[in-house]
């Protein structure tokens, strides 16, 4: 079989096989059960809590969780603005890169704070090593925030009736120390030996073989890249992100980075099943996500491998596929695969330029982010699919002749209101943002770098990526302007915190409700039938909200590409 296809099978297969035990491990971590890393981390965490004056066993209600979560995020926001706007004179700036302007710093801060990592700057020239290290810190902690929020939801469905949903700091610190950090270290070890630099020296100057002098950017890349993937952050150390030969030097690192970003989102699904002691439910969710994932990924792999028909018409050999914006060492198949993985799980790191993807590949990337729940970002994925589950439960509950209930809790007006607001927020932010950019060409669509339908897709992609907290881009967009920095910054903020607040609130409200035992008339939520229902809800909501926009962008481009 084609070695490019085999590579994809290996990446997916290895991730899947590792995700199950990791899921079990994550469930144990949040459940406070014994794990093999206890001897290292128990004393460490104790020290942390002691210094911070935190009692990790103090139970919190869902509201207290949200207050703690938002407070610490506010703190990081302020710190981040201070660092990014003063990098030029702060230490660790060997290349003498400038400080960021207020609006760019706002955008960058929000972008990393919300685990999105949309970048309106280029890593080589727009940020110092201190800035990079700070962003790396945010990559850890924001992933930890997402996982902690998911853990609150986990907890809400483990107990029959409770207001006590565990301790926020406990979930958060454990996510960072016991899950993100160890995996990052493993990935880093592979990267440094495959040639990813880890140095604090500035740009190197070399004379190339043809005699020209060029500078080569390096830096502490091997520390940055692992957490960028493990935490599904995706912000590149370099402008070219995962396509850059120093971030992703070989096919092996490509596989490792792929598995690194894919594994926690997948494992979280299994962790949910293990944690609430309903493994079958976890498998059902996994099934829905996996089918959705492959429905997007398989066409992309095929389309990218088939290449651009417009170039084929020129009469050359396009058997390597759509190579524009792709690296030879990675190939079209692995690039197409990555383009969907990175968009479904909201990593947003790229190993090929999505702007140059085939039109319908671009559409699939957009759909992946519009759905944002096929696996989804660390923690965030569970939160997002949870909203779809609530909607599916509501409609299918009625269809079997009972007022809807999920995990023994009745879904009533209040929960529906929250779920609908969250479900609405996504199309509102994406379509609203794009509409404003389209309506005001002097500040909005002026930034596009391609004419016609593709130009429209560039704007749509930018807001979709922001709302989905993805961070990838149709990078031709000249987006470091006041308008784009501020508008995407706002979309990023709402796109992050609404989908955290909503599900946590719903879970908290449901947890307080009386538990209703299951009977033969109860809708079973761990069956394939219900899986189909969830899938239908996702497909319908995404398709119905975004079809007109997609028709004007990638679909129109597809039909006009002959």
């Amino acid at each position: 079989m084609n070695t490019e296809i085999l590579g994809i099978i290996a990446m997916f297969g290895i991730t899947f096989l590792l995700a199950i035990p990791l899921g079990k491990y994550i469930a144990k971590v949040y459940g406070g059960e014994k794990t093999f890393l206890d001897p290292i981390f128990i004393p460490l965490e104790k020290l942390f809590y002691k210094i911070s004056g935190i009692n990790p066993s103090k139970e919190m209600t869902w509201k207290q969780h949200l207050v703690a979560l938002l407070s610490i995020n506010l703190l990081w926001f302020l710190m981040s603005m201070a660092i990014l706007m003063n990098m030029s004179w702060l230490p660790l700036n060997p290349d003498g890169n400038p400080s960021q302007s207020a609006d760019l710093a706002f955008n960058t801060t929000i972008s990393f704070l919300v685990n999105c990592n949309l970048q309106h700057y280029s890593g080589e020239t727009g940020i110092s090593y201190l800035g990079q290290m700070w962003l790396m810190f945010l990559q850890f902690v924001t992933a930890g925030i997402g996982m902690a929020a998911a853990a609150v939801v986990f907890k809400a469905f483990r107990e029959k009736t409770t207001t006590q949903l565990g301790n926020f700091y406990n979930y958060f610190v454990k996510s960072c120390t016991r899950i993100l950090l160890p995996i990052s270290l493993i990935v880093a070890a592979v990267l440094v030996f495959e040639g990813t630099p880890m140095t604090f020296n500035g740009k190197d100057t070399i004379t190339n073989l043809q005699g020209d002098t060029v500078q080569v950017s390096t830096g502490p890349v091997a520390a940055f890249v692992p957490i960028k993937h493990v935490g599904t952050n995706g912000g590149g150390f370099f402008g070219a992100n995962g396509a850059h030969p120093l971030e992703n030097p070989t096919y092996l690192t490509n596989m490792v980075e792929m598995i690194a970003q894919f594994i926690i989102p997948m494992a979280m699904v299994f962790a949910f099943g293990f944690f609430i002691r309903k493994r079958k439910f976890g498998w059902m969710i996994f099934g829905v996500m996996t089918i959705g994932f492959w429905l997007l990924a398989a066409p992309n792999i095929v389309m990218e491998m088939n290449g651009n028909p417009a170039i084929a018409n020129m009469g050359i050999d396009i058997s390597q596929g759509a190579t524009e914006g792709k690296e030879v060492r990675i190939g079209a198949a692995a690039s197409g695969f990555w383009s969907i993985v990175t968009t479904v799980i909201s990593t947003g790191s790229i190993n090929s330029m999505h702007d140059s993807s085939m039109p319908l590949s671009g559409m699939n990337e957009l759909i992946a982010m519009m759905v944002n729940a096929f696996y989804g970002g660390v923690g965030a994925g569970i939160l997002n699919i949870f909203i779809f589950i609530i909607l599916a439960v509501f409609i299918s509950g009625l269809m079997v002749g009972r007022t809807p209930e999920f995990m023994g809790k009745k879904i009533e007006a209040r929960e529906m209101k929250i779920a609908m607001i969250i479900a609405l927020a996504h199309p509102f932010l994406i379509l609203g943002g794009t509409a404003i950019a389209a309506a005001f060409p002097s500040v909005g669509s002026v930034a596009i770098s391609n004419p016609g339908h593709h130009g429209f897709s560039q704007m749509l992609y930018e807001y979709t990526s922001s709302a989905a907290n993805n961070g990838s881009g149709f990078e031709g967009l000249g987006d470091n302007t006041l308008f784009w920095n501020i508008s995407t910054g706002i979309v990023l903020l709402l796109g992050r915190f609404l989908p955290i607040i909503g599900p946590v609130a719903i879970a908290g409200l449901l947890a307080e409700k009386k538990f209703i035992p299951e009977s033969a008339g109860t809708l079973k939520t761990d069956t394939s039938t219900f899986g189909i229902m969830i899938f239908a809800v996702i497909a319908i909501i995404a398709a119905l909200s975004f079809f007109p926009a997609l028709a004007l962008g990638p679909i129109a481009e597809y039909f006009s590409l002959k």
């Binding site: 440094v192 040639g195 140095t199 070399i206 417009a310 390597q320 914006g325 330029m353 339908h453």
Partner: protein, 188 residues
């Protein structure tokens, strides 16, 4: 919220120490055991040092050309063309590259030109070309360097990087390495 701020500050402080200082130092420590102490893989040749993973511009007819680059292989930055597949201007550029390639390689049939050699990479620093992209340049290089085509073909075979474990990923040629080999074989 006020109650939560103080613990948040203290917790952030300890996490900064762990994640911004201790973690990178561990990675840095590991890097000291890696090739070139983790400063990126380099090739030393004739006393000069090149980053083997960072693509270089090769547009001289005596060398295997590297792929087009949106950043002209200036490794201080990186990036792709970001042109959409239907962009007329972009398609015209590709057509121009094909024409130019045919001018420099008159023996090559158009249908033999592999797409990677006329399209820009994502990073603009792609160190590789496809094996076929090397093969279509053999006649030109042989002529300029005055060596047998078979010898160049052998070089290509020697420099073909195999898939991981022979199973995963594409075959490719590192342009810098093969051009160094070319120079070492036949210094012009």
């Amino acid at each position: 919220m006020k109650k939560e701020i103080l613990p948040a500050i203290k917790l952030t402080a300890v996490l900064v120490v762990l994640l911004m200082v201790v973690y990178p130092m561990i990675v840095w420590g590991m890097a000291q055991f890696a090739p070139n102490n983790g400063k990126g893989k380099v090739i030393e040749n004739n006393g000069k040092k090149y980053y083997s993973n960072v693509g270089q511009i090769f547009n001289d007819d005596k060398y295997f050309w590297s792929r087009p680059s949106a950043v002209d292989y200036n490794a201080a930055g990186s990036g792709g063309s970001n042109k959409g597949a239907s962009n007329e201007e972009y398609l015209a550029t590709v057509q121009a590259r094909i024409d130019s390639f045919l001018v420099h390689n008159p023996e090559v049939k158009k249908s033999e030109i592999p797409v990677d050699i006329v399209t820009a990479s994502g990073s603009g620093l792609d160190p590789h070309i496809s094996v076929q992209a090397a093969n279509v340049q053999v006649k030109r290089i042989a002529k300029i360097r005055g060596i047998e085509e078979s010898q160049i073909k052998q070089l290509i075979l020697d420099n073909t990087e195999k898939p991981v474990l022979g199973l995963f990923g594409p075959e490719r040629i590192n342009v810098l390495k093969i051009n160094l080999a070319l120079d070492n074989f036949n210094k012009l």
